[in-house]
């Protein structure tokens, strides 16, 4: 155990955001260091690897201006921790937890390591309370529950921010029909966003009059901050949920920027690249974020996670959506085709899925007929969609009456259930509309 801060100017090399320092006595894995630039300004860094007395440091922030002789690295003997307090509510911070709203930094009640600790699987409570998002395709067919992690898979140019903002604005839990706004807190983490996108979210946060904590890393901000900001966000979320009993909804956008930052740093570390140049540990790294969603038995509070992933080249098998899908409990997939037809939200329900839906719906939770209605919509819409391929070959005239009927059903489903524009629909309304549609096509079972 060291007793003091150590300062070194023994840099061996500087490669982008990475610095090698020699002759370090007793560096600590994950230790926070302060990097003092030749011109006197300071930024933070973190120890990534140690080999005897050489430490590899990742600079958080801009590394431009570093030099080999005058730069000083100060080792602090502590791992990265987040300051915690209810005073963080309704504040806006940077990706390195500095106030961006002009107000002074709050005085923390406690500190917690940002990496978090894994939740003991036997301590986890099964997520089963529905969060009503106001969108039929989610509430009716891919129900979100408290403590779930459900990403939105989007493509460039699709209205993922309108969908995410819609959920922020309209989300309500069954227990609090007063709305998330009063019962809950939104933790909003922006990673590498363009300014106009951020402005849009900012307006949403202000409009919903609820409590929030925002961590903002914009496109021009340091790349390494993108690795830190979601961890700050989740550490604050866990604190609010499990110390103060709040229901916390964490929105992280855009996870693709996070993964690209990870790749950038990994490449600079000369690690062996995996698929598409992303590091081999991308799965474990993403899991260390996503798995922090959850509830604890016999304790109030929950962390629900809604990451937004933009699929490069609209490809759902790209490593980022692929690994995300393997960790999260389902996915909401947006479709370019539906968007082009003017349908909002353009949710393609067939590849979408909520794995935790079964526990959140049915008698006592939503409505007795929820499961049956959802199943019927799926089966018939899927067969309608299958028939569209046939229609493309043989033409509508070449098809039997029954098949044409199903084609019409698929169209009507998209127009009337999927499409809802700016309107918010309660779950009862969603189910009633769905029943009416099924009945009109003679598809409502006994």
């Amino acid at each position: 155990m060291r007793l003091s801060r150590h300062s070194y100017s023994t840099l061996r090399s500087i490669q982008g955001p990475l610095v090698f320092v020699d002759s370090v006595i007793e560096a600590r894995m994950g230790e926070v260091v302060t990097i003092v630039f030749p011109d006197g300004h300071e930024t933070e860094g973190e120890v990534l690897r140690i080999e005897r007395d050489t430490a590899l440091i990742q600079v958080v922030g801009d590394s431009r201006g570093l030099d080999m002789d005058r730069t000083r690295i100060v080792f602090t003997d502590a791992v990265k921790r987040a300051p915690l307090s209810l005073a963080a509510l309704n504040r806006v911070f940077s990706g390195s937890f500095q106030p961006l709203d002009g107000l002074p930094m709050f005085v923390p009640d406690a500190w917690a390591p940002v990496a978090g600790l894994p939740m003991n699987p036997v301590a986890r409570a099964r997520p089963q309370e529905m969060i009503e998002t106001g969108f039929s395709t989610i509430d009716g067919l891919n129900t979100l529950v408290k403590g779930q992690k459900l990403p939105i898979f989007s493509c460039a140019g699709l209205p993922s921010r309108e969908v995410a903002a819609g959920i922020l604005e309209h989300a309500r839990t069954a227990a609090s029909s007063a709305g998330l706004a009063t019962a809950s807190v939104v933790v909003f983490v922006a990673l590498g966003l363009a300014h106009h996108e951020y402005a849009y979210y900012r307006q949403t946060l202000e409009r919903m009059h609820g409590e929030f904590v925002a961590f903002i890393n914009l496109a021009q901000d340091p790349v390494v901050e993108r690795l830190l900001a979601p961890r700050f966000g989740l550490t604050v979320a866990e604190h609010l949920a499990f110390t103060h009993g709040r229901d916390v909804l964490v929105v992280i956008t855009d996870m693709t920027n996070y993964c690209d930052a990870l790749r950038e740093v990994s490449t600079a570390r000369e690690e062996l690249p995996g698929r598409r140049g992303y590091p081999g540990y991308l799965y474990s790294d993403l899991a260390s974020l996503y798995e922090r969603a959850g509830r604890i038995k016999q304790q109030p509070g929950s962390v629900t996670l809604l990451p937004v992933v933009t699929m490069p080249e609209d490809d759902i098998t790209h490593p980022i959506p692929d690994l995300t899908g393997y960790i999260t409990e389902g996915q909401i997939v947006l479709s370019r085709e539906l968007h082009q037809r003017g349908i909002f939200p353009p949710v393609d329900v067939l590849p979408s899925l909520s794995r935790l839906m079964q526990q959140g719906i049915g008698p006592g939770r939503t409505r007795e007929d929820h499961r049956a209605v959802a199943n019927a919509l799926y089966v018939h819409y899927a067969s309608g969609r299958d028939l569209r391929r046939l229609e493309a070959i043989v033409g509508r005239e070449g098809m039997g009456e029954g098949d044409r009927h199903m084609l019409d059903f698929a169209d009507a489903f998209e127009r009337e259930i999927v499409h809802q524009g700016a309107a918010r629909r309660g779950i009862a309304e969603t189910l009633d509309l769905s029943r009416a549609l099924l009945a009109r096509f003679g598809l409502l079972g006994p």
Partner: protein, 546 residues
């Protein structure tokens, strides 16, 4: 014997400790994190650490233990949940709260309740190696305690409450027998010989039992992209399989899913014995955010537990979800060791490690002449749903059955999404012969008929894509309609209703009803009746689930 940490990289640390042996267990740092020696050099040893290395400091002490990484086996393990290093999670929660802290839990006792040993032999008896000395009543099981370490004459044997460190029996030559013993996780437990005998392992899943049956002592993999229902299928089989003991490994998967599974298992009964499901189950869980090295070890911990029950003459099913996460853990560690990578960055020994693991499955004659079996069922998560990747391919060379989970079926909510043309089982001839005797003599014949029907539908579907279904002849339309029923009412099975479990007799009854209806209608078309004028078959509820 202590040394110091001289380097830290991801989940591995370098230490300057001499005299260590390969795969020796070491205690790392002030917190005493558990680690295992994976590489030895003149100047240093490389240790794979089973807990988070964050916060570890250069110069912290490291101590060898002289022992390998082991699992403690004995009575009282059933109905429990362990992490990849066999730390009991319920006790850990009581000791540490809801989050797992590194370095803790080694002193937590393994068994929540005291157990009573009943002696079956007397002092002075001559005992052969592996012979039964007595037993512990453990829920539905009579858990036998056996002699280990060779034959001998009993000096004393004591019934009553057994403690972890007090011998239940002693031999004349001074050896003592404990109810529990340690076994190194990477060493397969011994048996007399392997038997090649393939009896059915009924899973309760119609598609598997009927088309691609599984054999006791066999192995099977089911790869599938995300959302194809791997975990649900694996859990359904864990619930309903006709075996004595189930070892379930949650390897690098979701925590919420494990919470759901434990909730379900706590209230359900084993359909074969009507006893609580958990009383035959041991769960080993290392979720995706728990340390990577422990994920690598969890598979071996589970296999050792499974072999221990096999050696009791029981039929054991080991389920792991998912093997890909294990392989990724191997890759992460290999990369931290700076080994030369093979395909897709996986180490070149991936395939041989897997082959060794698959070889732990089988039907064996145990040391005392009984018969036990270990069946291995593994899910695989191929990146991008692409089955040409190294993990799936390495498994295909070793496995006896392959259930391919199909994304298109899953999108249509057809679960289990097992593709009926791409999947295979090498046990089908042996197992079907058994089922012909056990269930009904026409079992094999019905299978052939169903297979042929699905094949014929596939080729008709191509025709229909061109001419439309209306352009087909009545006989062909009837066949397509029947195949649709086979898919919807027989192959699909809703895991959330009573339909989740189907006995072989029920399975046969259901397919027979569909096929008989088909034969009858086909005969009527033969006589000149028109399909559209016939009453539609009573439509069963679509078995889709969302």
């Amino acid at each position: 014997m202590t040394g110091r940490i001289i380097g830290i990289s991801g989940p591995t640390v370098s230490v300057d400790l001499a005299g260590l042996r390969l795969y020796e267990r070491v205690a790392v740092g002030h917190a005493g994190l558990m680690g295992e020696v994976v590489r030895l050099e003149r100047e240093r040893a490389v240790v794979q650490v089973y807990e988070s290395t964050r916060g570890l400091c250069i110069g912290e002490p490291v101590a060898g233990t002289g022992a390998q990484l082991t699992v403690r086996v004995g009575p009282g393990l059933l109905n429990q949940m362990f992490d990849g290093l066999q730390r009991p999670l319920a006790a850990l929660r009581e000791a540490q709260g809801p989050f797992i802290r590194p370095g803790g839990g080694r002193d937590v006792p393994l068994r929540p309740q005291p157990l009573r040993f009943v002696a079956a032999r007397q002092p002075g008896d001559r005992i052969a190696d592996g012979e039964v000395l007595g037993y512990v009543e453990e829920g539905p099981f009579r858990h036998e305690i056996r002699a280990t370490g060779g034959a001998g004459i009993l000096r004393s044997i004591s019934g009553g409450e057994c403690a972890e460190d007090v011998p239940v029996a002693e031999f004349e030559d001074g050896r003592s027998i404990l109810a529990w013993h340690e076994w190194p996780v990477r060493v397969p437990r011994p048996y007399r010989r392997k038997l090649s005998r393939f009896e059915p392992l009924v899973t309760g899943q119609r598609c598997i039992d009927f088309l691609f049956p599984l054999a006791r002592g066999g192995s099977a993999i089911f790869p599938g992209g995300f959302g194809t229902g791997k975990t649900l299928l694996e859990q359904s089989i864990a619930k309903f399989a006709d075996v004595d003991i189930v070892i379930y490994v949650g390897c690098g998967e979701r925590g919420n899913e494990m919470a759901e599974m434990l909730d379900d298992f706590a209230v359900l009964n084993d359909p074969w014995s009507q006893r609580p499901l958990m009383s035959r189950t041991v769960v080993v869980v290392n979720t995706s955010n728990m340390p990577v090295a422990a994920r690598e070890a969890s598979i071996y911990t589970a296999a050792t537990l499974a072999e221990y029950y096999r050696d009791q003459g029981l039929h054991v099913l080991l389920l792991a979800d998912s093997l890909s996460r294990w392989a990724e853990a191997l890759r992460e560690i290999s990369s931290a060791l700076e080994e030369m990578p093979g395909e897709e960055g996986y180490p070149t020994y991936l395939a041989s490690r897997m082959a060794e693991f698959f070889a732990r499955a089988g039907v064996v004659e145990t040391l005392d002449g009984g018969t036990g079996s270990l069946t291995v069922l593994l899910s695989i998560s191929p990146p991008g749903g692409d089955f040409t990747e190294p993990v799936t391919q390495a498994c295909l060379r070793n496995t006896g059955a392959f259930f391919m989970l199909d994304t298109a079926l899953a999108h249509r909510r057809h679960f289990p999404a097992i593709h009926w043309f791409q999947s295979f089982s090498l046990y089908e001839a042996d197992v079907a012969a058994h089922l012909d005797r056990q269930v009904a003599p026409d079992w094999s014949a019905l299978r052939h008929e169903t297979r042929a029907l699905l094949q014929r539908e596939e080729s008709l579907r191509e025709v229909a894509e061109i001419v439309g279904t209306e352009g087909l002849q009545d006989a062909d339309r009837l066949l397509m309609r029947t195949a649709e029923r086979v898919r919807r009412e027989f192959l699909a099975q809703n895991a959330y209703t009573d339909d989740a479990f189907s006995t072989p007799a029920q399975t046969r009854g259901r397919i027979l009803a569909i096929l008989e209806g088909y034969r009858e209608a086909a005969a009527r078309i033969e006589r000149g009746e028109r399909l559209d004028e016939m009453p539609a078959a009573p439509a069963g509820a679509p078995a889709a689930q969302s």
